[in-house]
């Protein structure tokens, strides 16, 4: 079922490409004219106020919905539906509550055609649970774990199926501050261990500016009504990175403040759409 084939990806063509992508729902334009090229191995953070369509963008990438206009391709092929080449981690519901954490991962492995026997798949699942620090919790139901542990299980599942693309929709949005910080470090570590910029491509939706800067190579800022890209900013922080290292990097504060400015402008327009856009130049 894996749609990607190594041969078809030439060095120059973008790995993931959105060209003038538009999407509407119930008569309202949710996304309008999205142009975005993402290279293999990039870690792209997407931020924007609620209602800017960033989750919808992720649904399009996941193949759960299809663009009304424009073209969305992965490895040069239009996305025709969900696929196991794109592992999705949702905010707090990536796991089926009636299966143990290990069985959730085993099911994904079965679907991906990985492991030759049930025993082998269980072993792979245990290996990845251990990787995210949940070695002894595999037999528990998702509902018996904390939110942070559930998200770690979901990340373990996404890594276990070895999908080249990870789509993450505010995976740490429902977590408390400290847990979130730990998950960010864990994700950075896992992504770098899995090959970093030579490994998995990550598209990470968040509403937290600092999170976007800590994790991303690139931050996409979106605005509302209609949802569109207003800023595409490279984060020049070195790799490999840790949360602590990123926060104390000299460039962190300027990048964060610039992004906050852009977001403020976006939200200001949203709150006061009638205001003359002459001042400040608009976007």
């Amino acid at each position: 079922m894996n749609n990607q084939s190594e041969a078809s990806v030439s060095g120059s063509a973008p790995y993931i490409s959105l060209a003038a992508v538009g999407f509407g729902y119930g008569g309202e334009t949710v996304l309008d004219g999205i142009d975005l090229d993402i290279a293999r191995g990039e870690f792209v953070a997407v931020i924007g106020p609620s209602g800017c369509g960033k989750s919808t963008l992720l649904r399009l990438l996941a193949g759960l919905a299809f663009p009304d206009t424009g073209l969305l391709t992965v490895s040069g092929r239009p996305v025709s539906g969900p696929g196991l080449d794109r592992a999705v981690v949702f905010q707090d519901y990536s796991l089926f509550p009636w299966m143990s954490c290990r069985d959730n991962i085993v099911l994904a492995l079965e679907q991906a055609g990985m492991g030759s026997s049930r025993g082998e798949r269980r072993a792979i699942a245990s290996e990845y649970l251990e990787l995210v620090g949940l070695r002894t919790d595999g037999g528990k139901l998702p509902g018996e774990l904390s939110g942070g542990m559930r998200q770690r299980t979901a990340i373990a599942r996404a890594l276990a199926v070895n999908a080249p693309i990870l789509l993450m929709d505010e995976p740490f949005g429902a977590l408390d501050e400290i847990t979130r910080a730990r998950q960010q470090d864990l994700l950075l570590g896992l992504w770098q261990d899995s090959g970093g910029e030579h490994g998995k491509t990550v598209i990470f939706v968040t509403h937290d500016v600092e999170e976007a800067v800590i994790l991303g190579d690139r931050v996409i800022v979106m605005a509302t009504r209609p949802g569109r890209v207003v800023r595409d900013m490279a984060v020049g922080l070195s790799r490999p990175r840790s949360r602590h290292g990123a926060l104390h990097h000299g460039n962190f504060v300027p990048i964060r403040d610039e992004l906050l400015d852009v977001l403020n402008q976006v939200v200001g327009e949203q709150l006061d759409p009638g205001a003359p856009s002459g001042e400040g130049g608009g976007i």
Binding site: M1, P82, A87, F90, Y93, P97, Q111, L141, G143
Partner: protein
């Protein structure tokens, strides 16, 4: 059933103890009204002194009745559970079929299956089959309607998740649709099971030569109220036992709902 967040085993046994206490109190109270002070009509409300020997005398007959009743109940109820779920899943997963069939289901669902008795007897070759059919139809509706409801109520995010995993067809049903709809399906099966006990006695009114409902009605005709009460108590003991097994299966299957 209590849905306490952390069901303390102590509370559970405490509850059972309370039930037993009330049960024992009722037996003693009945004894006072009949055996001791004879305040009731002794013919319609015989005391334990009459009921207990009658029950012992009737034991073989009651046991035989139980087998006959189960011979009606088990195939009818299991058949209704399976076909109700199967039909519910088949229709529930196909929006167009559901749109067409739902008004029909809504119209047929409230018709008491006892009203079909004359037709069942006229159309079906044996009385046994007619009785089974009446119970079957009565159980089928709650299971079918609740399965449809359960599928309609499935959380969209589960379906998204399943689609991201490329789950399709039978595997989608087995891994996601059925487990996700199970709480609702169990509600339907529970309602159907309770209805099946009512229908059992009705179904045993025609054609049956044995059975628990038949036993009660038969001896009521001869005004043998000691046996009637013994039969009713045995019948409720059977119902309570079956419901206890059902509850156990339900708790085992739905244990995840308490841990969400």
């Amino acid at each position: 059933m209590s849905r306490g967040k952390n069901g303390k085993p102590g509370g559970e046994t405490g509850g059972r103890f309370g039930s037993l206490l009330i049960f024992a109190g009722l037996i003693i109270l009945y004894s006072l009204f009949t055996d001791v002070f004879a305040l009731f009509n002794g013919m319609i409300f015989p005391g334990w002194r009459k009921i207990v020997p009658d029950a012992i005398k009737s034991a073989p007959l009651l046991f035989n009745g139980l087998l006959n009743s189960l011979g009606l109940l088990v195939p009818a109820v299991l058949g209704a559970f399976l076909t109700g779920m199967g039909l519910g899943v088949a229709v529930g997963l196909h929006p167009r079929a559901k749109r067409v069939l739902m008004p029909l289901f809504r119209a047929m669902n409230p018709v008491p299956s006892t009203m079909l008795i004359p037709y069942a007897i006229a159309v079906l070759p044996t009385f046994w089959l007619s009785s089974v059919a009446i119970i079957y139809v009565g159980v089928l509706w709650p299971v079918l309607m609740n399965t449809l409801h359960g599928i309609a109520m499935l959380e969209p995010r589960w379906i998204d998740n399943a689609r991201c995993l490329n789950l399709e067809g039978w595997r989608l049903i087995r891994k996601v649709v059925l487990p996700g709809a199970m709480p609702q399906i169990f509600a339907g099966m529970s309602a159907g099971l309770i209805r099946s006990f009512l229908l059992l006695t009705v179904a045993e009114m025609f054609g049956a030569k044995a059975g628990l409902g038949f036993f009660v009605q038969y001896y009521a005709d001869f005004a043998e109220y000691g046996r009637v009460i013994a039969g009713m108590m045995f019948l409720s003991a059977v119902v309570v036992s079956i419901m206890a097994v059902f509850d156990l299966v339900q708790r085992r299957t739905l244990h995840w709902t308490k841990k969400r």
